[in-house]
């Protein structure tokens, strides 16, 4: 077999893994790989303006498409700039492969120019990582990296490539299939556990399905819908689970948790059976753990055994891929042979109660003359896009208002940093999503704070001619922190007020994009339609009510029934 250089191996592996676009930023230690990418010419490279942008773009590409996202950075500062992006992907279980350049093996440990121990730095925030010391190992490492990134509970994998490994030669035996003795995720659920779970479902009078990001990662939205419909069990979703079940479905209770709906939180608190599917009982969902779902038995299905029994005691754990588990549960329900009317009868009182809660405190906000309410902007955005856009968000109030007022019906249409809560995620993620779906409408909902964290990627979007739309809800505050200060810190607004924000319309123009601004409620519709219809990249800025809050709200550490309402 002909020998190949390490850099050629990387390009060859990318092709075999079906990677058509990568995001990156070059530098001295990765220049060799770039040279090969350029000569080869088959893989589209998106040049970002900051490596964090590359990592988030690869992540957004992965979330939108379900494929593995790939990004490239040089050694040292290039590599460290990707760390926030890697941790973001790690906490939300996003499949990603990150290539970093490294100083030549002979210099490793010498504090060489642009040297950093990126494998050491990213060990706790990757699913796995490699420092390749011998080019002979590279084919196996490349295959493993993609396999590990996308299988089981997905996650980011980093491959550190010293300069001499990129240029060294060896035979390229790319394994077709791979089997690792120490890594065998459980996909198929245990039959006994399915039976035990079904027996609980059969008996439950007040069941709730609590669906998380695992539903979306496992592409299990159809199975979830089928199970809910067949058994008349209502569904509440985590932030990561939104779109995993249609938000407009009559069995949808909306989002639960800190900023969840009144109905969803009341449902959890009064339920006698919680079916947690691909969710992990995060503190933003459970609130005060001792007061969480006191009456409920819990069935927990998750591909990652560590998620089960981590925060709450579980009655029936089911380890396996969500899609398979839900299919099996649906199968059990069919075998059970109970007719639809019987399920409906059994849950009727419960569904009526839920409906009463829905009506008592629906998601709402107070309209005020002369001021733009952010919720109104999101409602209008939902209307105008017919709920069909891919929406990315930054983190904070903009994220929560979007989660509450945009009704996501489809999986992979909300891309948001749920676990790590990374401000600056939304815009580069939108770039990644737009690369995956050039013909879809992609909108980043941002605040004036978070958009500035990766605003430099405006140039990337312009260069790639990406028609990403940015909605900026501008309150000249770091709004979510301000809201906490208002509620729990006697309104001492420590370091949350922006005395200066740029003119976003002019900023858009400076990049060659379009900019629109609304300062009055009656201008909102016009600005949205102009912005959404504009050719290419556009910013729509809305001067919103400065001290508007996100409600309902469960104060951190309180029981989820102790909600502050509008």
């Amino acid at each position: 077999m002909a020998k190949m250089t390490g850099k050629q191996m990387v390009v060859e592996a990318l092709k075999r893994e079906g990677v058509d676009v990568i995001f990156g930023f070059p530098g001295g230690a990765i220049i060799d790989l770039y040279d090969t990418l350029e000569k080869d010419g088959t893989i589209k490279h998106v040049l970002v303006r900051h490596e964090q942008g590359a990592a988030h773009a690869a992540d957004g590409y992965a979330r939108a498409s379900g494929k593995v996202g790939v990004c490239v950075a040089t050694s040292g500062p290039g590599a460290t700039n990707t760390v926030t992006g890697i941790a973001t992907a790690s906490l939300d279980s996003i499949p990603m492969v990150v290539f970093t350049g490294q100083v030549p093996t002979a210099l490793i440990g010498n504090d060489a120019f642009q040297e950093v121990d990126i494998v050491g730095i990213t060990r706790p925030c990757t699913k796995h990582n490699y420092l390749v010391k011998d080019v002979k190992d590279l084919p196996q490492v490349l295959k493993e990296a993609f396999y590990i990134a996308r299988s089981g509970r997905p996650g980011p994998v980093l491959i550190d490539l010293p300069k001499d490994v990129q240029n060294g030669k060896a035979e390229f035996n790319y394994p077709e299939k791979i089997k690792l003795r120490s890594y065998n995720p459980v996909i198929e659920p245990h039959g006994k556990q399915i039976e035990r779970a079904y027996r609980l479902i059969e008996k439950a009078k007040r069941p709730v399905i609590y669906a998380g990001g695992g539903i979306i990662i496992a592409n299990a939205n159809k199975e979830l819908r089928a199970l809910a419909k067949a058994t008349y069990i209502p569904v509440t979703m985590t932030l990561m689970g939104l779109g995993g079940f249609p938000g407009t479905h009559e069995l949808s209770l909306g989002m639960l948790g800190m900023h969840g709906t009144y109905c969803a939180n009341m449902a959890m608190a009064n339920s006698d059976l919680i079916i947690a599917a691909g969710a992990r009982f995060d503190d933003r969902v459970t609130g005060k753990i001792e007061a969480f779902a006191p009456l409920a038995k819990i069935i927990h299905l998750d591909i990652d055994p560590t998620s089960i029994q981590k925060n709450v005691k579980v009655d029936v754990p089911i380890v396996g891929d969500c899609k398979r588990v839900l299919k099996k549960l649906l199968g059990a329900a069919k075998d059970g042979g109970r007719p639809a009317e019987a399920w409906m009868d059994q849950h009727q009182a419960w569904l009526q109660q839920l409906d009463a809660w829905k009506k008592r405190h629906p998601l709402t906000y107070k309209k005020e003359p002369g001021v733009i309410k952010p919720q109104y902007v999101i409602e209008k955005l939902y209307e105008m896009t017919k709920g069909r856009a891919i929406i990315t968000t930054e983190v904070g109030q903009n994220q929560m208002w979007t989660a509450q007022f945009y009704k996501f019906d489809e999986a992979r249409t909300l891309l948001t940093s749920g676990g790590l809560g990374t401000m600056g995620y939304g815009f580069p993620a939108a770039i990644g999503a737009q690369m995956a779906f050039p013909d879809k409408l992609v909108v980043d909902v941002a605040g004036d704070g978070s958009i500035q964290m990766n605003i430099q990627e405006m140039a990337t979007a312009m260069e790639q001619r990406l028609p990403v739309k940015i909605v900026i809800l501008n309150n000249q505050f770091l709004g979510m922190v301000r809201q906490w200060q208002e509620l729990f810190y006697d309104r001492r607004y420590a370091a949350t007020e922006f005395e200066m924000t740029p003119d976003f319309v002019k900023l858009a123009e400076a990049y060659g994009a379009k900019g629109f601004r609304a300062t009055k409620p009656e201008e909102v519709d016009d600005v949205l339609s102009k912005g959404l219809e504009a050719e290419g990249l556009a910013i729509m800025e809305f001067a919103i009510a400065r001290e508007e809050g996100v409600f309902p709200m469960v104060p951190a550490g309180k029981a989820t029934t102790e909600m502050l309402l509008v």
Partner: protein
């Protein structure tokens, strides 16, 4: 409660650091740690002693199993098992205490592995309680230095990793 875990891991650079990182990153405690290759040189055997209630131990075991490099994890202290530790103890050996040290050494079946005009170095092997007893007896005489291997353990009877 004290638990002794046997962990088989791929003998690759970084594997140990992943394991210790997991403990420090989640504020779990490691009481002792011993690592060496097995008969199969591609696998290392780690014996790890830790403390925690059943939920913490369950999490520790699951988290360890989740690591890509970890092949197998067994809580050997759940069943019948043998546990041993070795220690080297350099003890001050003046004229008047030399005989006493040798007597202790004899009683506990320790070995003298190094002798100098002013010190003995003893090798002690046994369960932790024995090491503790020897150390307590030697302490008043004057321990100059001590190193311990940490526990190594094995399940009894027919069970193997």
């Amino acid at each position: 409660m004290k638990h002794t875990l046997s962990v088989l891991v791929e003998n690759t650079p970084g594997a140990l650091s992943r394991i210790t990182g997991l403990f420090s990153g989640r504020a779990f405690n490691i009481e002792s740690l011993n690592v060496a290759a097995t008969l199969d040189p591609t696998l290392s055997h780690i014996t790890l002693v830790t403390r925690g209630d059943e939920f913490i131990i369950e999490q520790i075991i699951k988290q360890l199993r989740r690591l890509v490099d970890v092949f197998k994890v067994v809580d050997v202290s759940e069943g019948e098992f043998v546990e041993r530790e070795m220690s080297l103890i350099k003890v001050r050996a003046e004229e008047e205490s030399r005989a006493e040290i040798l007597r202790i050494c004899d009683i506990f079946r320790c070995k003298v592995v190094d002798v100098s005009p002013k010190s003995y170095t003893l090798e002690v092997t046994g369960p932790e309680s024995k090491l503790k007893a020897v150390i307590e007896l030697l302490r008043p005489i004057g321990i100059k230095e001590i190193t311990r291997t940490g526990n190594i353990a094995m399940m009894r009877e027919k069970k193997t990793m």
